[in-house]
Symmetry: C2
Amino acid sequence: MIIDKLFEKVAQNGHVCVGLDTDYGYLPPEFAQRYPDIEEGIFQFNKAIVEATLDVAACYKVQIAYYESYGMAGLRAYQRTLALLREKNAVAIADIKRGDIAKTAEMYAKAHFTGDFEADFVTLSPYMGMDSLTPYLPYVQNHNKGIFVLIRTSNEGAKDIEYLPTGNRRVYHVVGERINEIGRDYLGACGYSGIGGVMGCTHADEAAEIRHILASTFFLIPGYGAQGGKAEDIAKYLHNGNGGVVNSSRGILLAYRKQPNGEQHFADCARSEAIRMRDDILNAIHC
Amino acid sequence: MIIDKLFEKVAQNGHVCVGLDTDYGYLPPEFAQRYPDIEEGIFQFNKAIVEATLDVAACYKVQIAYYESYGMAGLRAYQRTLALLREKNAVAIADIKRGDIAKTAEMYAKAHFTGDFEADFVTLSPYMGMDSLTPYLPYVQNHNKGIFVLIRTSNEGAKDIEYLPTGNRRVYHVVGERINEIGRDYLGACGYSGIGGVMGCTHADEAAEIRHILASTFFLIPGYGAQGGKAEDIAKYLHNGNGGVVNSSRGILLAYRKQPNGEQHFADCARSEAIRMRDDILNAIHC
């Protein structure tokens, strides 16, 4: 199962998920001059970043919103980026946060698990309920695909719905438990399920409990760095050094802006930042 | 504001929202033979449906999942369908149910309110919280755009999160009230807000209360027909004969399958079904 491949990648390369949230404005000016075409520029930038980070990243998360914002040209760059990741044998998470039901959800599953936009994992939003996940499950079972469902996010607005009290818990506890329960039917050899969850690394005080209750749920963890998430908090959401990947997007893509003459070697800067982040997390685990 | 245009369309044409959830398999066989190309076939089918229903529909809802499922070709058909709706001065709702935050949400807003995929309204999912709506609001304020936020849906799984009890209410009550509150800053001349809500027409017993509490929220109502929603239930979610549109997708697109030789005149069959549905709702309002 794909979750076993991701588990292995973490064991080999560490926990970094490189977020390819590529705005054309992120391209260093000289590079942008060489690739004035949106599709080509974004794709070539991604290619340089991917090639520089392959052995120090667990996986790549491609945020489709950035590509959609450039219309058809952006989506061609999205398609080519996913093809590149497949060619490189990298694990690709399509961050699409779709959430719909019945035939519409079937169409989303087809869209993002086959064809032009094929990825290994997709992210999903659970608001409409657990039947919004159903059409993805046959792909998890039979086609080496996986999903990450939003459980708890690290933004300010998370309090509006995710944190609403219900019974003696909060909405995100209910969602997490349902995901973990459904996921038990889709366990990989590594012990984690192909049904993962997005879990912000805030509220480190309840991390141990969450990791214990959602024992077979692999976490996609946002919020590292710029959003305030610290390596020691992240470590608490892991188990025996695995069980989660940690996304960083701008921190890696724009690392070159913090280095003298970084523009000249932006991909090296991305690699250095990925290594720094990888080691930051590994050190926190071993503390 | 765009909500005033939608209000006027309802007053003129009734409440039908034609759902262009177009699967290539919906094309009558002879029509499909004439247009074997996915992009062209889907676009030409949509064009025939739109031209046959313009004066009997309030608006069109284009479900992007169907188009995404055909990859780049499907998205070209999506782009051309939205361009056609603009050319026809029809109101277009992009049913995208996106839900993300910060710069990602900005990118989605740019993607679906400008450029290749420009629509009048988008649907959004509120799970991540009210800050996931923020980037769309300047478009509502200044660029004649609107949003419909998922409040309560009509699927079985709605009970999993939307119906969770919180305090003495349910999650969807909280969402509805927040939407209505935010929406008060974006009222059109018609009294309704550019911030609307998706409201399934189930639970007709609390319809009057919901319509009263969410007084300035315009509803996009799914679930008519095939999903069990009746015109008399829908009428309870309206106010003075306006304040909502009612989606039907397959009921209209595939109306031809219920008529003898319907395939030969599928667009006329769609028109007849839209008229039947329009009158069904108008009759229920006047009862």
